[in-house]
């Protein structure tokens, strides 16, 4: 297994773990009566579902490539593309946080809940994307993946 393949699998698994936690927490929060926490939970469910879809899509694509024979050159190209995508996403995450903060300033409790939910998801994804972009660069150079 190449470093690139191992790294892609790790990124997908970590994103899937976060999405499962998000959906579970969001579902729990739907039991509350607070408009803030319900909205916060709805964001967690929504973002969790998107993250899960991305992670599962990534895992399936990787599995298919491995099945038909994943050439080291193709794996290296995918790793480079993934690193670029992660940096691009990190930029988008900043916009999500800014949008969430704008909602968080509103007077309505439900909007504040949605805003706080977006901020949390955006902050997590920014950290997730930035860290993995750095790690991808290291894998590109050394071929080693930190678990």
């Amino acid at each position: 297994m190449t470093g690139s393949e191992k790294f892609q699998r790790t990124v997908s698994n970590r994103l899937l773990l976060w999405s499962v936690l998000s959906i579970a927490a969001g579902a729990l929060l739907q039991a509350t009566r607070s408009p803030f926490w319900r909205a916060f939970g709805q964001q967690a469910i929504g973002w969790g579902a998107i993250d899960a879809a991305l992670a599962l899509f990534g895992r399936r694509g990787l599995a298919r490539k491995v099945q038909r024979g994943y050439a080291p050159a193709e794996a290296a190209t995918d790793l480079r593309n993934l690193r670029r995508l992660l940096w691009f996403n990190a930029g988008l995450d900043v916009l999500y946080v800014a949008g969430g903060l704008a909602l968080f300033r509103r007077a309505d409790e439900t909007q504040r809940g949605h805003g706080a939910g977006i901020v949390l998801q955006g902050l997590f994804l920014f950290k997730f994307d930035a860290i993995h972009a750095f790690l991808a660069e290291r894998v590109q150079k050394t071929g080693e993946v930190d678990e």
């Binding site: 009566r33 607070s34 408009p35 803030f36 968080f104 300033r105 409790e109 439900t110």
Partner: protein, 344 residues
């Protein structure tokens, strides 16, 4: 000076509203606990407020015990050095000089020319505002927000009082009396607020606490409010964060009219409810208490224990309006502070 453990203690105290929240703070902070005690005859009514004030840049920092005689309206502000204040970490155990304050009771040793108040009171059956992992008290999720100007906590909506205090030269027996405890902490009091509280209704176990204030919020401000009515073991909550709405808030020379509606849980059923509060001000009992402003303890708070509040709570059940409670609360604390037009 801030210590490494202070941050952890402050994190823990999010879920412990009764505890001291100032660990690590050296300036621009206040915290005050409000103990209301009324004896069984209802002739003796006092508010006792221990606290700490850390002035901006550390100037004028001190601790204090403030007392209000609810019958006469007289107040005394007993100033103590900062070093006279101590608090247990993440627990409700406060000492200001020779005075001690806990959830179980208070020990007073005020023996000064301007006032003598000595004795020990014990509290039974305290009923704190519920604290849960996602709602750490009366401020609900706002308790997690680190930049609030002022935080609020209700430590007991109603409890029994027993014990005796020597006040002046006379012994006052508080056996069979009722009490209430709340607190505030943060940078400063809001710029404008209305607060009312009473737990002396026709029957024991009913308690009302209500406050509305201007809340600075991320460069803007909003009118935030929190109302709790404890009635027959159920706490009916009306607050900005529950989705409740103020229908009317009006202040006249002698009355405060406050009407609101919002979702509550009544008999295990979620339904819409209406709450009407009419506070009757009694100017004779009004005196000035010290409230923490940003730079000094200034005389700003108009407070009394001689007001009364008419309370009417009704709920909508199966399309019918059902009156759940109606009554008049006596010996009510009433404050109107700051630029009220900002919240009216």
């Amino acid at each position: 000076m801030s210590r490494p453990g202070d941050a952890l203690t402050r994190l823990r105290t999010i879920w412990q509203p009764a505890a001291y929240h100032g660990f690590g703070h050296t300036a621009g902070f206040f915290e005050g606990w409000y103990f209301k005690i009324v004896d069984a005859t209802e002739q003796h009514r006092y508010a006792i407020i221990p606290g700490i004030f850390l002035g901006k840049d550390g100037v004028d920092s001190h601790s204090f015990v403030q007392t209000l005689d609810g019958a006469s309206g007289a107040t005394c502000y007993h100033r103590y050095p900062l070093a006279a204040f101590s608090a247990a970490p993440a627990a409700f155990d406060i000492r200001v000089g020779p005075n001690r304050f806990t959830a179980q009771g208070i020990e007073l040793n005020i023996d000064r020319p301007e006032q003598r108040m000595i004795g020990r009171l014990a509290f039974d059956g305290i009923t704190p505002w519920p604290v849960t992992w996602r709602s750490p008290g009366i401020m609900d999720w706002y308790s997690f927000v680190p930049f609030m100007e002022c935080y609020h906590g209700v430590l007991s909506l109603d409890h029994a009082v027993r014990g005796q205090l020597v006040i002046g030269g006379a012994a006052v027996d508080f056996h069979g009396g009722r009490g209430y405890i709340e607190k505030d902490w943060g940078e400063a009091f809001p710029r404008a607020w209305i607060w009312m509280q009473t737990n002396h209704f026709g029957r024991t176990g009913v308690s009302l606490t209500a406050s509305v204030a201007r809340i600075p919020w991320l460069g803007t401000a909003f009118r935030g409010f929190i109302v709790g009515l404890l009635c027959d073991g159920t706490l009916y909550r009306f607050a900005s964060y529950t989705g409740a709405v103020i229908d009317r808030l009006e202040v006249t020379d002698h009355q405060v009219f406050w009407e609101m509606h919002g979702p509550v849980v009544h008999g295990g059923v979620r339904c819409q409810a209406r709450l009407s509060l009419v506070a009757h001000r009694d100017e004779e009992g009004v005196d000035l208490l010290h409230a923490p402003m940003r730079t000094a303890m200034l005389q700003r708070v108009l407070e009394s224990l001689t007001a009364s509040v008419d309370v009417t709570l009704s709920v909508e059940l199966d399309g019918r309006t059902v009156e759940v409670f109606a009554g008049r609360g006596r010996h009510a604390g009433l404050e109107l502070g700051g630029t009220l037009e900002e919240i009216l």
